[in-house]
């Protein structure tokens, strides 16, 4: 058991942080350049020099290109039609075609915006080059520059590590607690305990306290790894983070205890855990932002303790939010913990 406690966070952080990335680094592009003009070559060159694109195919046949797209070998087709440059020179509107594999909608959206950005950039260049040399000043336009706050380099790891830590703490707290209690039922020690005059809250405290400590330890250990390996920023107050985690864990351990009262075998309780963990994780905002979820899903998320910690962990670590910034989440999680723990303690019966 002890090695697992150390290995789990390392493996989870190393694998998930690297693998579960939404950054598009290897966009496979198929180019159908029917124009073969200097402009079209310029466009192709622009993509070739970008680190985000892999240009593995060129051909003149849209049919071939579409077949590749169907097979899933490529992500995007860039179609430059015949006469592209000449139409442009004549001053007519000239068009390009982009065909994107949108089975993964999020990825397709990203590919589209990357590609359009590249094209827009090129567009500006040729506009400047081709407009009359007399007018040397720039055409009037509003220039938008932006900087990203709290994660200036848009480093995905910085975003993921705090999320994975939440996952880790929740897994340890909920699954270990519920499994441990149900295991006692299977072994018969639970019955032996129930026949003693032990107070309910004594037993429950004794059972939950070790996992509370273990989970907080895991959080500390995970943060250390996150700092050493991924160099995640720790902007906020760690004391505040642990205070929140401590309260959050009451809710999670309460849920574990509650699940254990619903099941009589470890298999059953694993199933219950799995059901809720999946919901909690996918709706928590670990991978997809909660803000993009439909309203009804956000209502369901009120009952998702992970969503609160996910938000708060990132807020404290990356933004350096203080106590008043996380107060709403803190209050919510405290109420959550109170409700679920009371429910679990009430459900836990010494006499059935």
């Amino acid at each position: 058991m002890l090695p697992i406690i150390f290995i789990v966070p390392i493996v989870q952080l190393l694998i998930l942080v690297h693998a579960a990335t939404l950054e598009m680094k290897n966009i496979d592009m198929y180019i159908v350049d029917k124009d073969l003009s200097s402009t079209s070559r310029g466009i192709v060159q622009k993509f070739e020099s970008s680190p985000f694109y892999h240009i593995n195919h060129h051909s003149f046949s849209m049919q071939d290109a579409e077949n590749e797209l169907k097979k899933g070998n490529i992500d995007i087709i860039l179609h430059i039609p015949y006469g592209f440059e000449s139409e442009l020179i004549k001053g007519n509107d000239s068009g390009l075609q982009l065909l994107i594999d949108a089975i993964n909608g999020t990825a397709a959206g990203l590919i589209q915006s990357y590609t359009q950005a590249v094209l827009a950039d090129y567009n500006r260049n040729i506009m400047l080059k081709w407009t009359s040399p007399v007018i040397k000043e720039k055409p009037l336009s509003i220039e938008i520059t932006h900087s990203f706050w709290y994660n200036p380099e848009l480093n995905y790891q910085t975003y993921m590590v705090p999320g994975i830590l939440v996952l880790l703490v929740t897994l340890i707290g909920m699954i270990l607690t519920s499994l441990n209690l149900v295991r006692e039922k299977e072994l018969g020690t639970a019955e032996q305990i129930n026949v003693t005059p032990i107070r309910k809250y004594h037993f429950i405290t004794g059972k939950l306290f070790p996992f509370w400590i273990i989970a907080l330890f895991e959080l500390a250990f995970g943060l250390l790894i996150g700092k050493l390996i991924f160099d995640i920023p720790i902007v906020g107050n760690l004391g505040l983070l642990f205070l929140f985690a401590a309260v959050y864990l009451f809710a999670i351990l309460g849920a574990g205890l509650f699940f254990s009262t619903l099941a009589s075998t470890q298999q059953q309780v694993m199933f219950i855990n799995f059901f809720f963990m999946l919901l909690f994780i996918l709706m928590s905002g670990l991978f997809t932002p909660v803000e993009t979820m439909p309203d009804w899903a956000r209502v369901i998320n009120i009952a998702n303790p992970m969503a609160y910690f996910m938000r708060v962990n990132r807020m404290i670590l990356l933004k350096g939010s203080g106590f008043y910034d996380i107060l709403p989440e803190f209050v919510s999680v405290s109420i959550y913990a109170l409700i679920i723990l009371s429910l679990a303690v009430w459900r836990y019966r010494k006499t059935v």
């Binding site: 018969g188 032996q192 305990i193 003693t196 006499t351 059935v352």
Partner: protein
């Protein structure tokens, strides 16, 4: 045997239903202080259900039950303070040591550190387990674990101990030794309530009740029962009561048949 016949368990019209199935159908009996009371019956007759109700583990459907002077509905925790319990499942914590188990259960029953240390030493000397004080329970053979589980169940010196098929799955020699331990406990004034389906063990009890299909079919001393049914041993008493025909008896597993001990 205590001749004053002070009752320690009083059960009146105990009924326990699981859905439509009556596991205990209107049980009424008394157990006297100091006796070894055998609660006999075939598997599924309702013995375990009854014992779990008497220990406060399961709530009865109806009936009046008083254990060790306390009402089972309203004073469940008081009942629990005054009884010991050992189930057919082995129930000490296997991943901690002998002494740690003693300390845990001693602590739960509110014994002081000194009392625990003293009783642990006594207990381990009596069981000849002194050298295993710091061994994990999982490393002990089953017979020893059971002896230890029984001793831990009466560590807090209860008035009454419930044993639910305590000798299930052990060899006859170990069973015999276990019964020596039960006698020892009875000598110290602890009332013993024991369920078993080994009919030979019924001979060791002061009084036995025999359950068939959720009812108590008969209740008396072993010799009175043998006289009543005009048979030589408790096994045949049981068979007569349960109305099993002799040819069916011959097909039974040898384990259910009588073993004679010296």
């Amino acid at each position: 045997m205590n001749e004053q016949k002070e009752t320690i368990i009083t059960v009146k019209n105990l009924v326990k239903k699981f859905g439509n199935f009556k596991a205990n159908d209107n049980l009424s009996f008394e157990v006297f202080k100091g006796e070894i009371f055998g609660f006999l019956g075939a598997n599924g007759a309702g013995k375990t259900t009854a014992i779990k109700i008497l220990c406060g583990l399961w709530a009865p459907t109806s009936g009046e039950i008083n254990v060790a002077g306390f009402d089972i509905y309203t004073q469940t925790e008081q009942v629990k303070k005054n009884i010991g319990y050992m189930s057919q499942k082995f129930s000490l914590y296997e991943d901690i040591t002998v002494f740690e188990n003693i300390r845990l259960f001693g602590g739960i029953y509110g014994l002081s550190r000194r009392e625990i240390a003293q009783r642990a030493t006594d207990l381990m000397r009596r069981l000849d387990l002194e050298h295993s004080r710091d061994k994990l329970i999982s490393s002990l053979p089953l017979g020893w674990r059971q002896k230890l589980a029984f001793s831990v169940a009466i560590l807090h010196k209860p008035k009454l101990v419930f044993l639910d098929e305590p000798t299930g799955g052990v060899d006859p020699v170990t069973r015999r030794k276990f019964w020596d331990q039960i006698y020892e406990a009875a000598d110290r004034g602890i009332t013993v309530f024991v369920t078993t389906h080994y009919m030979d063990e019924a001979e060791y009890c002061d009084r036995v009740s025999i359950m068939v299909d959720g009812r108590i079919a008969d209740l008396d001393t072993p010799s009175a029962l043998k006289g009543k049914y005009r048979v030589k041993n408790m096994n045949e008493v049981f068979l007569k009561i349960a109305r099993i025909k002799p040819d069916e008896y011959n097909k039974l597993e040898p384990i259910y048949k009588v073993r004679k001990f010296k």
